[in-house]
């Protein structure tokens, strides 16, 4: 086996060296320019005035509040996403009903709508001048420029992520295992917990990670509905903007570096989940997946 592997087989579609160098070079150039350079800049900027200023910025009460707010929003949104994603994926892959195809296309809509537009829609609907807004304010419920509005806007932009991961997975898996469980006497909940969930768990986690990443960093839609009320509706991305606009560059970069760290962390988890999902039970194929 090793003897065979040692002699690298010549692939039928080997491109000339020049083409390979050119294509790889182009890709590396763009990665360096648009990903590595900005990341380095953020961390350089964060520590430009020394670690003391960095810690000062991170420990600022307003920043700490924004971190708590962002985490609260993310947890709420991801939980709602789990429920919605499972329900949508289940109904689309397991039931046949009129409008099924439309539903599966509509789920993707938030990905192509500008988040700012989404935010505006919520203001028009739920703001003081809006149709439902009047009803809400008459009952003393504040949605826009408050936490519920931020959650709604974030939910809107992250809605597709879990469902999008699950639908192809459940489509490919088919429903035969569930039917088998049914004939063996299992009831609905038992089938879900013992058969369906184990089969989709990695895809589900992957969707959750993607949704979390998006929820943590969402700026546009949240910016519109939050109203930038300091200490009340400023999430981390908004806090970065405020600090920047007030010329606290080092502080802005310090908070931005927190977000970037979270992003890097998510990418790591994402990669790990992809490997696990491919490798099945034993988690094999992970190193192979990384190498290729």
């Amino acid at each position: 086996m090793s003897a065979v592997a040692a002699a690298t087989p010549r692939r039928a579609t080997t491109d000339p060296l020049a083409v390979r160098v050119l294509l790889t070079g182009t890709a590396l150039f763009f990665v360096a320019l648009f990903i590595v350079l900005p990341l380095v800049t953020i961390f350089a900027g964060a520590f430009a005035k020394g670690a003391g200023v960095f810690w000062e910025a991170v420990r600022d009460p307003e920043t700490l509040f924004s971190v708590r707010l962002t985490l609260l929003v993310t947890i709420t949104v991801v939980a709602a996403n789990l429920v919605f994603g499972l329900a949508a994926a289940w109904s689309i892959t397991r039931f046949r009903f009129p409008g099924r195809r439309l539903l599966s296309s509509l789920i993707e809509l938030p990905l192509s709508i500008s988040p700012v537009v989404a935010g505006l829609v919520f203001i028009l609907l739920l703001g003081d001048a809006g149709v439902w807004g009047r009803f809400l304010s008459a009952h003393g419920i504040k949605v826009i420029f408050a936490l519920p509005g931020i959650i709604l806007a974030t939910l809107f932009v992250t809605l597709p992520y879990v469902a999008r991961e699950l639908i192809p997975l459940m489509e490919a898996g088919g429903s035969q295992e569930e039917e088998a469980a049914l004939t063996l006497g299992a009831r609905g909940w038992q089938i879900f917990r013992r058969v369906t969930l184990p089969n989709i768990s990695w895809g589900l986690l992957y969707g959750v990670v993607l949704a979390s990443a998006r929820a943590l960093g969402e700026f546009g839609a949240v910016s519109v509905v939050s109203g930038h009320v300091r200490g009340e509706t400023t999430t981390v991305p908004l806090q970065v903007e405020i600090l920047y606009n007030e010329y606290h560059f080092a502080a802005a970069f310090a908070v931005a570096s927190l977000l970037s760290l979270l992003a890097l962390f998510t990418v790591g988890i994402k990669k790990w989940l992809q490997c696990r999902a491919k490798g099945g039970l034993a988690g094999r194929g992970c190193t192979a997946g990384m190498a290729t």
């Binding site: 295992e177 039917e179 469980a181 004939t183 063996l184 009831r187 184990p198 099945g280």
Partner: protein, 364 residues
């Protein structure tokens, strides 16, 4: 446990899949539902299991209406064509599944479950594989796990949907003979779906032939083979050649060939079709006393113990096939391009418009 199906109909959207099925499976029987793909046999099986519901009609299991019970309450062992094993569970846990999901008061102790599962794995000769996952087993092994899993719940009836359909020919044959032996041991009332006539004839106590949502014939393998009731059954059970001709006063004439068909003695000048299985054709170099059909040998194909000839009639230029034993073929020393004379040893005649068939045996 007996199964009684009466008047079962099923439509999928606009297309009718089952057009009124009546069927009785006796307790302890092994019955094959045989038919081409799309004939409704799998749908019928799924309706019996409760995985699909009939639009009309009744399914009774040992006399009691089964439609009142959900699929999970019917205690029906179901084996799927593509095994449908639980990918993430070990072989042991797959087989144990049906025992573990029982309501607490009916559930066995852990030790009892373990014992039962190992007993079943021994039955399907897989006890060494208990800790593997399905992905690490061959197709034949996976299907045996699926069978053990279905048997674990002590099913009242066992239903198998093309159980050997995705296995290669050799494993297929081994496994179906093994299934027959297993059935002789356990005597669980069983129904299996197949499109392979050989499989049905070899394994089943009785064969149910289905076509386009209807049952064409029910009978023992010998009955349906010897006395096919319709052209479809005849055609489906073996490679058959059609010879168009006329029947008049008990004589069938095909081209210049005349064959006695005493069963059609009362028929006057009617168009008829003679169905002849390809191994029921006698091939000779010289024409005998009874005239045969003059044909040209187009092709000779050797398939181990038999030789298949592709022949073309000189009169109508229609082509058909005849099968000879290798031994007989050697004696004839046939080559493509030669002219030979062909006469059926056995022909089944269906007069146009009439459904009842008659078989005639002629000896040369």
């Amino acid at each position: 446990m007996s199964i009684e199906v009466s008047g079962v109909r099923k439509n999928f959207g606009d297309s009718a899949v089952l057009l009124g099925i009546d069927l009785e499976v006796r307790s302890g029987e092994l019955v094959a539902l045989l038919g081409p793909s799309g004939c409704g046999k799998t749908t019928l099986l799924r309706i019996i299991a409760g995985l699909d519901t009939a639009d009309a009609g009744l399914v009774r299991v040992s006399g009691a209406d089964a439609s009142a019970l959900a699929a999970s309450e019917r205690r029906v062992g179901f084996v799927f064509q593509h095994y449908a094993l639980f990918r993430r569970l070990t072989v042991f846990e797959n087989v144990a599944f049906g025992l573990r999901v029982r309501p607490r008061r009916e559930r066995h102790s852990r030790a009892a479950i373990r014992e039962r599962v190992m007993e079943l794995l021994r039955l399907v000769q897989l006890e060494r594989f208990a800790d593997r996952t399905p992905g690490q087993l061959s197709g034949g092994q996976q299907q045996r796990v699926a069978l053990a899993r279905a048997l674990a719940i002590e099913p009242r009836i066992l239903l198998l949907d093309e159980p050997f359909g995705s296995l290669d020919a050799r494993v297929r044959r081994e496994l179906r003979l093994w299934l027959r032996r297993l059935h002789d041991e356990l005597h669980v009332t069983s129904v299996f779906v197949t499109h392979d006539q050989e499989e049905a004839l070899e394994v089943a106590d009785r064969v149910v032939l289905m076509n386009a949502g209807r049952i064409e014939q029910i009978g023992t393998p010998q009955e349906v083979w010897e006395h096919p009731r319709t052209p479809f059954v005849l055609d489906f059970l073996g490679s058959v050649n059609l010879f168009h001709g006329r029947v008049h006063h008990g004589r069938l004439s095909i081209g210049g060939m005349e064959i006695d068909v005493p069963e059609h003695a009362g028929t006057h000048a009617a168009a008829a079709v003679g169905y002849v299985r390809d191994h029921d054709l006698d091939v000779r170099r010289a024409d005998g006393e009874d005239a045969g059909l003059a044909t040209t040998v187009l092709q000779v194909r050797r398939l181990g113990p038999i030789v298949r000839l592709e022949l073309r009639r000189l009169d109508t230029a229609e082509t058909f096939e005849a099968t000879l034993s290798a031994e007989r073929f050697c004696r004839l020393e046939l080559r493509p391009g030669e002219t030979v004379f062909v006469r059926p040893r056995r022909v089944r005649v269906f007069v146009d418009g009439a459904t009842n068939a008659a078989v005639a045996c002629t000896q040369w």
